[in-house]
């Protein structure tokens, strides 16, 4: 089996590499858009406790929808292709990032926020200089969870023609070509592990840089 896989890689290496890049592109585009939307949403709901419950529930519900169903549901709106894949992946990454942004901000000691406000910092400065930097490790953890998750879901996005390593898996299944399936699946796993490794390294660097050890007590 191993030799078959190696032979396949030798023969179709170019195609595999192209699909890896496609997969990376799909994940990076989705997560970048998701980060912007989710952080804004998370910050917004940290100010309004009413909408917070609603937004978090909606995100939670979105996550429980099976990926096949979600993709199929999107096709009528966005057609077949890359956009549909990106749309689905964005929806899936919302919850971890929104939730972590929200809790990250909510968990900051009220004394820190109050002294910032009391000294005369504008609301914008309190957010950008105090709240977001302090919540950043938690937000980063959310981004990592979301990224690793959508690398996996991204494989299924090939089903609606979004490209990526999922194509190898789906084609492999329909042609009963086992090496193809294995290469696709291994590729997805390696990408997920790589993202996990790089992002957790980044998190640790941020932690070290911001020294958010013990809040003032």
């Amino acid at each position: 089996m191993l030799t078959k896989v190696i032979t396949y890689l030798n023969r179709r290496g170019d195609l595999v590499w192209e699909l890896v890049l496609e997969h990376l592109w799909l994940v990076i585009v989705s997560i970048s858009i998701a980060v912007v939307i989710s952080v804004i949403l998370g910050v917004f709901i940290s100010y309004y406790s009413g909408p917070a419950a609603i937004v978090l529930t909606i995100c939670q519900v979105l996550m429980t929808i099976p990926s096949m169903a979600m993709l199929a549901f999107m096709v009528p709106f966005f057609g077949i292709g890359f956009t549909t894949g990106v749309m689905a992946l964005i929806l899936y990454s919302l919850l971890p990032i929104v939730r972590n942004t929200y809790t990250g901000i909510k968990e900051i000691s009220p004394a820190i926020v109050e002294s910032a406000v009391g000294m005369g910092m504008t609301e914008w400065h309190v957010l950008t200089k105090i709240k977001i930097p302090l919540a950043r490790p938690v937000i980063m953890a959310g981004i990592r969870t979301a990224t690793v998750m959508i690398v996996g879901i991204g494989a299924i996005a090939a089903y609606v023609g979004a490209g990526g390593l999922g194509e190898l898996i789906f084609q492999g299944i329909s042609r009963s070509n086992e090496p193809m399936i294995i290469v696709g699946a291994l590729g997805v796993s390696i990408i997920a592990l790589a993202f996990d490794f790089i992002l957790s390294w980044g998190e640790r660097r941020l932690m070290a840089a911001s020294k958010t050890g013990e809040a003032t007590k």
């Binding site: 000691s109 004394a111 820190i112 926020v113 109050e114 002294s115 910032a116 406000v117 009391g118 000294m119 005369g120 910092m121 504008t122 400065h125 105090i130 930097p133 302090l134 911001s210 020294k211 958010t212 050890g213 013990e214 809040a215 003032t216 007590k217």
Partner: protein
Amino acid sequence: MIKLEAVTKIFPGSKIPAVKDLSLEVKEGDICVLVGPSGCGKTTTMKMINRIHEPTSGSIFINGEDALKMNPIKLRLDIGYVIQEIGLFPHQTIEANVATVPNEKKWPKAKTKQKVDEMLTLVGLDPKVYSKRYPSALSGGQRQRVGVARAMVSDPPIMLMDEPFGAVDPITRARLQNEFLRIQERISKTIVFVTHDIDEAIKMGDTIAVMREGELVQHATPNDLLSTPADEFVANLVGRNRSIKRLHLIRIREILKEVDRAKPAVMDMPIKDIEKRIDESDIRSVIIVDRDNKLKGVIGINDLKRKAGEVAADYMQSLDQSVTSDATLNDALSVMLECGEGFVAVVNEDDQYQGTITLGDLLNVVKEEG
């Protein structure tokens, strides 16, 4: 300077006002201490001055200007603010923490840097050592110092302090209080200071405002509060042992001149002379200093029997505790009780010997005042 007129605060969802029809005036350069049991509205009152809480009714004037009509950001930038938990920003260096208000005011970098260093030095933290550290690397007392430096850096005429020395041990607290009073003598800020500790109130306050259940019960000088409490509540708060509490009001330097005690001896004084000094001394001990008058130690009558030698240095015991002359008599009493001695050596800021006071001196003060 600060004037509250019939201020009432009712928090949303609550029927009982947190602060009820409170009027209070704080004169320029005075420390007004708000004191009372928890939930009496003292912190709420303080936080209405910089509009962390907006009053439900009433008005607040700062230098004759209606604070409630001012831009809250502008108002707060000119009011130093220290809260109980200090609220240092854990992701910023000490330097950046102290520079918060200058940065909001967009001061030039060089001016900010100079002023930050100056403030850190003032509160006893060497900028060269501490500027680049993070709050987590500081002790509780050092954080409180940074909190005070941060509040004073832009030289605001008014400061609001909510139990700023609350979270440290009693000895550190006494030291921070004395340091702060020394600084205040120079800078003369108008300060509203919140505490639940009546001893701290008596020590820090030019005036004390006693609050209960959102109402002002009595606003008076510490002396008047101790001699003529307005009602039983105030009397209970200041306690039965009011004459002892007066020890908080008197600084050591005020009585040091009156107590005439044997001169200190130097390290190389022959032991014969030391013996003579000890016999003459009412504390049966003699204080030893070096050539620069720095406190070195003490020789008690028992040390003479226990050891042998020619000069004072051979018999000397080190002194673990001393007090500065701007500490209160109560601080001196604490040190005596802690060391189990009937006397304590008084030094100045450079550890130079100023004199000695004894338990007897304190008793005399209590007797006279009471």
